[in-house]
Amino acid sequence: MQTHKAKRVEITIEAVMERRLAESLEKVGVTGFTILPVLGGSGRSGRWSREGQVSRASGMINVVCIIRPERLDSLLDAAFGVLDRHIGVVSVTDCEVLRAERF
């Protein structure tokens, strides 16, 4: 089966920034992404868990976008505008998709 090259961008960011990030991505034409809850993890501030969080202040989310390679720069610029001073990780990996017209 034929596959097409694409970029998979994964952004782990504070939950309070979810809407701002989503709107920022939509502004640059990235309308396809998936937002996943994050159960917990470990980072520069030590271990944390979603368990027992009464506020969205310390929760994290994971945003996954798969896009055509030529759209990567505008997506990263938009993401950086939101991430800026906030806790978060952005990673980009090469991937292949089956239906190129969808990305």
């Binding site: 504070e14 920034m17 701002r20 030590g46 027992g52 969080q53 506020s55 969205r56 202040a57």
Partner: protein
């Protein structure tokens, strides 16, 4: 003094406090006891609806007077002023940076609605009445402190701190909307308005839902809050230096004193004064932390969450509330 101790002891063996203590102890013992996230959310919605509606129905029964307006104004002023007091105290007794101190101060100017609900429940159990509009006073005290804290940071020229450096987003229109329209405030004010519109007749219709089960639901909710506070404190207790620990106890007592003065000047009932003291003494751990993450991302969330939720919230629940009630009773009778 004996009266205060007797009241404190009585409060400590009430079911709501014992369930809170159970959750706190279970978290420290690393038990797997937990309240599912959706259930905890549902319980908090119930409590907000019930306390808001009952407050509104009480206002409908007793009417609107000048004291109501003055109490709302007093709440607004207290919420603006308390962060300055907290900021000064923090800078004096802890080594916190301007940004961390301002972020913590915002929490102490705002309120904890769970502490308010618990205090009103203690008043009901003691057979004391209080002004129904105190719910609205609590609601107006939620947001102004955030503005004071941001002003404190702006005045200091937003010095870069920590590894992130630079400044945060500050207060934009979107953040302001999120703060003012956060779900808890909307439900609390909405239920208050519905209670005020439908009055005692409306209360009679849903009494079986919002009055009788209230204490039981509060027990379950405080069990969850005990688990949350215990876990938070267990995981971050290394952060708590003596100065911060002292602040977590001194600040609610300072806030309560200002609340006592305000309540006394307003001529509120003993129950109303105790609630004014309680909201002034409490610290937010839901609305303000989220706002601080957006507006002041350089501030360390572990400090303000641990202080508000791990120190001040349990202090108010177990020791603070009986002290505030006893002091209000001793000074203003009842």
């Amino acid at each position: 003094m004996d009266g205060i101790l007797a009241l404190a002891a009585e409060n400590l063996i009430s079911p709501i406090i014992l369930f809170f203590a159970l959750g706190f102890a279970a978290a420290f013992a690393r038990s797997d006891l937990s309240v599912p996230e959706a259930v905890a959310k549902g319980l908090s919605l119930y409590l907000l609806l019930a306390i808001g509606f009952k407050g509104g129905a009480s206002v409908a029964a007793h009417g609107v007077d000048a004291t109501l307006i003055m109490s709302l104004l007093a709440g607004l002023v207290l919420s603006f002023v308390l962060p300055f007091v907290a900021f000064g105290l923090l800078r004096m007794i802890t080594g916190l940076s301007v940004i961390d101190a301002a972020a913590v101060a915002a929490h102490y100017g705002s309120i904890s609605i769970v502490t308010f609900v618990t205090a009103s429940s203690v008043l009901t159990a003691a057979g004391l009445v209080f002004e129904g509009y105190m719910v609205a006073v609590a609601a107006v005290m939620e947001a102004p402190a955030i503005l004071s804290a941001l002003w404190l940071v702006a005045r200091a020229g937003r010095p870069a701190t920590g590894s992130h450096g630079g400044s945060g987003r500050g207060l934009d229109a979107e953040l302001l909307r999120e703060i003012l329209l956060n779900g808890s405030i909307v439900l609390l004010i909405g239920a208050f308005a519905i209670g005020a519109i439908t009055g005692q007749e409306g209360l009679a219709r849903i009494e079986a839902f919002i009055v009788a089960p209230f204490q039981g639901v509060l027990c379950l909710f405080l069990l969850d809050m005990g688990l949350v506070a215990g876990r938070g404190l267990r995981d971050t207790r290394g952060l708590l230096r003596p100065g911060l620990l002292a602040f977590g106890i001194l600040m609610p007592l300072t806030g309560a004193t200002l609340g006592l003065v305000a309540g006394g000047l307003l001529g509120l009932s003993v129950g109303g004064i105790m609630l004014m003291m309680t909201v002034s003494a409490s610290a937010s751990y839901i609305a303000v932390p989220a706002a601080m993450r957006v507006a002041l991302p350089e501030a360390n969330p572990a400090i303000y969450l641990t202080l508000a939720l791990g120190i001040t919230f349990p202090f108010n629940l177990t020791i603070g509330i009986p002290i505030y009630l006893a002091v209000a009773k001793v000074i203003f009778g009842g």
